[in-house]
Symmetry: C2
DNA sequence: TAGATTGTTAATCGATTAACAATC
DNA sequence: TAGATTGTTAATCGATTAACAATC
């Protein structure tokens, strides 16, 4: 981690702004006000202006923000002026779905390594990639210099694979296994778990 | 929404406690202290005690919490004393992966309806379910009384399908499409988007 | 009993919002 | 110019943490 000056909660909203701006660019729009962004994001205009001002004054009083310019700035802030190569560990249904997912293109993300332990899967082709055995994980990660990984292995394998990824140089892990990974502070971990989200919502549905 | 007394951020942590307690029960443990839970979750012991105390005093001074009892209480709070039926709209790779996902069993979640618009997919069998055409969405949701939905359709279809779901009675939507849905306040929406998480982490990876 | 750990209060910390001068 | 909207400050709001009496 490296929170330095800008709060992590601010950073977490930047990709959302990026997504909305991309959508608006696609719609052919050229400028946007914090009020427009507010309506599209559900966040307050005040908060959006404050978030952006952590990184500089990107707007013009009276006119708002240039979509093109703001996109460019956000991409730079998020280190998207390059492609980040990603390894996927666990090529089950979910790993396969992620490998085929079109939404990574143009977002600075490219899946370049696939690993599994199942002999029926190892050696098979998924998209344009060959699935390698998890035995070669360290070697391949080191060779390729991959720093990000997506973990879609069964819960019992997750922690030990995560440790090995970190050992091999991975510094950001997107974890789909339903377990809280315990890793050193210098590793970024994000957790995706539909069960947690669904149970969260169940609370509000009451019992009727 | 229905925040009443307990902050939403507290509710959002309950499923995580549940997950950890389930894991500990599986390990054969019987009691747990807020300190143990802290170590497994990465949250502070103080925060955990405060979160739980919103719902009552579940522990015993000097001993901690009974895992069994706490599990039971959390399940009740989250309305898990029943099975919540869920519709999946969009049976692509991701929708298919979710339908096959084993992690919903025993968590109060059951996928019971599948919809798609692609003639190659409509009518096909996925797991034990038949994929229906999205034309029948309202009719089937109403008939079955389903209140929760998972949205795995392309981004351009997401908002209009979401509107139709709400119209048909759905009150909780887990959205996998990369767009912010605009829905009435009485509908719960949660968003899962790996791109947002990966871009968030890219910030911290710097540029080396 | 002595030790451990809860439940809760008050203090601290941090994030959001409101307001408005600056300025395009 | 007049109107609109930013960037920023101060006020408010809410969440987390520290501390400790209660008590098992």
């Amino acid at each position: 981690m490296n929170e330095a000056a800008v709060p992590d909660i601010v950073i977490s909203r930047l990709p959302l702004y990026l997504q909305i701006l991309n959508q608006m660019a696609k719609e052919g729009l050229h400028t946007i006000s914090s009020k427009d962004l507010s309506e599209r994001s559900g966040l307050s205009a005040s908060q959006i202006r404050k978030d952006l001002s952590f990184f500089g004054g990107f707007g013009k009083q009276g006119q708002g923000y240039s979509i093109y310019h703001l996109l460019e700035q956000l991409q730079k802030i998020l280190n998207m002026n390059r492609i980040w190569q990603v390894a996927v560990i666990g090529v089950g249904d979910l790993g396969r779905a992620l490998t085929h997912y079109q939404g990574f293109a143009n977002q600075g993300i490219e899946i370049v390594l696939l690993f599994d332990i199942d002999p029926k899967v190892v050696g098979s082709q998924v998209g344009s990639l060959n699935v390698q055995h998890t035995d070669h994980l360290e070697e391949e990660i080191r060779r390729s210099g991959v720093r990000m990984a997506i973990l879609t292995v069964p819960v019992d394998a997750a922690q030990s694979i995560a440790n090995r990824l970190v050992e091999a140089g991975v510094r950001a892990i997107l974890n789909y296994a339903p377990v809280t990974l315990r890793l050193p502070d210098f590793v970024n971990v994000q957790h995706i778990d539909p069960v947690l989200h669904l149970q969260h919502m169940m609370y509000y549905l009451g019992n009727d």
